[in-house]
Symmetry: C2
Subunit: 220 residues, 2 copies
């Protein structure tokens, strides 16, 4: 009783970023429903749980190429599988991390990223106290060894957790070494060639928004 | 030779979230210029460095209530001070963290958050192996002790790093205990009353965007 579905993204269709950010919400919601024993789920049901418009949900799911059935909706198991594959969580994407400071070290210790498809296989720093050691089983090499390590590992993603002074310089080095996507955790806006993917995750920007809203609520 | 400026946000003006997310970029950029010995900076100069439109930058900075001078621009030292205060990075905001799993533990070890105004003063979990211990000097209490600890600490912010199954339940507990802002790191969309601030930082959603773009570049 499986449903017809395709797990490949539709050709030449660039999924909008807001959609890609909402899909993991639907996924975690549907996973919960599965735990509760549900076998089918409708966009109306997801809408009730997430406070997102049902028509928006249907539109977002249309990118995923899964079809629901009138009345019963989407099959829970299939939807989970299709979403996880579509979002890239079932493949392992290897990554290098640059800058084993406080945040970099913290990320090396977060093994949870692996469940969502990211495996940091090595880290780079120039600190003699760190080079040659490992953290959570992940080796830390000297930054000078990066190009050599690119030949040893099959890596396309670089996680950037260096001080802002060298954020651009390290980015340039990464890219000339063959890195195709930079996950930028620094509060610095890096510049990259057009064909390079950048995902900015500035915890500090998120803090700024939170502090501001908190202040606003307090004094309004 | 100080300039006239006010560090309070203008009354009743709700700063747009995109502005709040861009301001830390300007801040880190101006900090770099200071290191290079610059004393004044114009929005054109920041624009060149960040690839953001100069008029957008001027508009964003208009919320901050700092005025530049014709020809010379903004004074670097003042701009840094004003931005840091406006973004809330100079005050210490105390927070509790809920869920000392892989990501929660990692965040406890990221002392860097303190430089941006967030101090996690205690954490909560139910794991008997964790309760009563501490991580990076931060005590871990049993979740049942949360309400009591709210009386001991002056805390308004809760960092949410629990499994999705209990994300909503822990959020409800936090809020009924007096938490005013939730920094949600789970991929679950939590529901809160209108007066409660939520900032979602889903690393997994960011991964999904990055994987998708990487795939798209590869096959286009």
């Amino acid at each position: 009783m499986t449903m017809d579905h395709q797990i490949q993204p539709k050709d030449s269709m660039r999924v909008p970023e807001p959609t890609l950010r909402r899909l993991p919400w639907y996924l975690s919601n549907v996973k919960l429903l599965k735990q509760k024993g549900e076998r089918y789920v409708s966009s109306t049901q997801i809408s009730r749980e997430t406070n997102i418009d049902a028509s928006q949900i249907a539109k977002d799911l249309s990118y995923v190429d899964i079809s629901g059935r009138t009345r019963v909706g989407y099959e829970v198991d299939t939807l989970i599988t299709v979403l996880e594959q579509f979002l890239g969580f079932t493949d392992i994407h290897k990554a290098f991390l640059f800058g084993v400071g406080s945040l970099g070290g913290a990320l090396l210790q977060d093994s949870g990223l692996k469940h969502f498809g990211l495996e940091i296989v090595a880290a780079f720093d120039v600190n003699p106290a760190l080079v040659g050691t490992s953290l959570n089983g992940i080796p830390i090499f000297h930054s000078d060894d990066f190009v050599q390590k690119m030949h040893e590992y099959d890596v396309h993603i670089g996680v950037l957790t260096v001080p802002i002074e060298i954020a651009q310089c390290i980015t340039d080095t990464m890219i000339s070494g063959g890195i195709k996507a930079v996950w930028n955790f620094t509060p610095f806006r890096i510049r990259v060639p057009e064909n390079i993917v950048v995902q900015n995750t500035s915890l500090y920007a998120h803090l700024a928004v939170m502090f501001n809203r908190l202040n606003f609520n307090e004094f309004k």
